[in-house]
């Protein structure tokens, strides 16, 4: 779970899912990252038990599955900028999926 929360992209995914369940496409639109990289992030979050995927026709809907303690940890990680290993983690995920890592899209 700590590995899942240590990456800013994954934290942002969790924050987006706090508003409402979203499809994989909707979530990917918020990031300037390739789809395979996003899939790798989703699978890390799923393996940590923080999100759940549900097939709805041809789209996959992701839903938040965080306990109160996990959400508090997410808030803590976000506040202290817990991303020491973030670039390494994202790079490994990208390497695994065989794609180049691009910087995050600046929002707001």
């Amino acid at each position: 779970m700590f590995k899942a929360l240590s990456d800013p992209t994954r934290r942002r995914v969790l924050q987006l899912l706090r508003k409402r369940p979203m499809s994989a496409g909707e979530l990917s639109d918020h990031f300037a990252v390739s789809k395979p990289t996003m899939s790798a992030h989703f699978s890390v979050l799923q393996n940590a038990g923080l999100i759940e995927a549900e097939k709805n026709g041809r789209t996959i809907i992701y839903r938040l599955k965080m306990s109160v303690l996990e959400e508090a940890l997410l808030g803590f990680a976000h506040t202290v900028g817990w991303d020491i290993k973030a670039q390494g983690g994202a790079r490994r995920a990208a390497l695994k999926s065989g794609t180049k890592l691009r910087p995050l899209k600046q929002e707001g």
Partner: protein, 198 residues
């Protein structure tokens, strides 16, 4: 025949231990016979539930799921009773000087139990196809309920461990009904809210 995992022996062991504690407490404090009798009835109910889930001849997966949840419930209730009855016995035997320790221990564990339940509320997901309301609103309600019960439970547990009894009582009477009211209000709001497409 395959050996049963050790987990299967914990619920009956807890029931047996609690029965012994009730018998000892009843012997030492016969004036509270009514209370001991109620606890004994509870233990008989737990035993019956355990026997029923062990013998249900339904399909294996459903039986295991139901059995697991009943066993977890029995273990939780059993642990609460062991600590409460153990504390009462310790006071009756004179091993502990503080007369209110049993009450404090029971209510602190009750608060901790509420906090654990609250912590898990947002993790319980219903398949979208089975939902009759907006999934986003349901998620918001579950998150709020989780936070309310986790914090209220934690506050009650800490209050019973640290504050004077009258203050802890006042805090429990303030926090728990407030948590129930907010949860019920949220559930009513969710029922009235019109479902919207995802």
């Amino acid at each position: 025949m395959a050996a049963k995992p050790i987990w299967n022996y914990i619920p009956p062991a807890l029931i047996a231990l609690n029965t012994l504690l009730v018998a000892e407490n009843w012997y030492l404090r016969p004036q509270s016979a009514g209370s001991w009798f109620v606890v004994l009835l509870l233990l008989i109910g737990m035993t019956l539930a355990l026997v029923l889930v062990s013998r249900q001849p339904k399909d294996e997966a459903a039986r295991r799921a139901a059995g697991g949840s009943v066993r977890r419930g029995i273990v939780t209730a059993g642990l609460i009773l062991v600590i409460s009855l153990g504390a009462k016995l310790a006071v009756a035997l004179g091993a502990v000087q503080y007369g209110d320790i049993a009450l404090r221990a029971t209510l602190a564990i009750g608060g901790a139990f509420l906090a654990v339940i609250g912590n898990a509320i947002p993790k319980t997901l219903t398949p979208s196809a089975a939902l009759h309301c907006d999934p986003a609103k349901l998620q918001a309600v579950k998150r709020l309920a989780g936070w309310i019960w986790a914090l209220a439970g934690l506050a009650v547990a800490i209050a019973w461990l640290t504050l004077p009894i009258n203050l802890a009582e006042a805090m429990s009477f303030l926090l728990l009904p407030s948590a129930i009211l907010v949860t019920v209000w949220q559930a009513v709001w969710l029922r009235r809210a019109k479902p919207s497409a995802l």
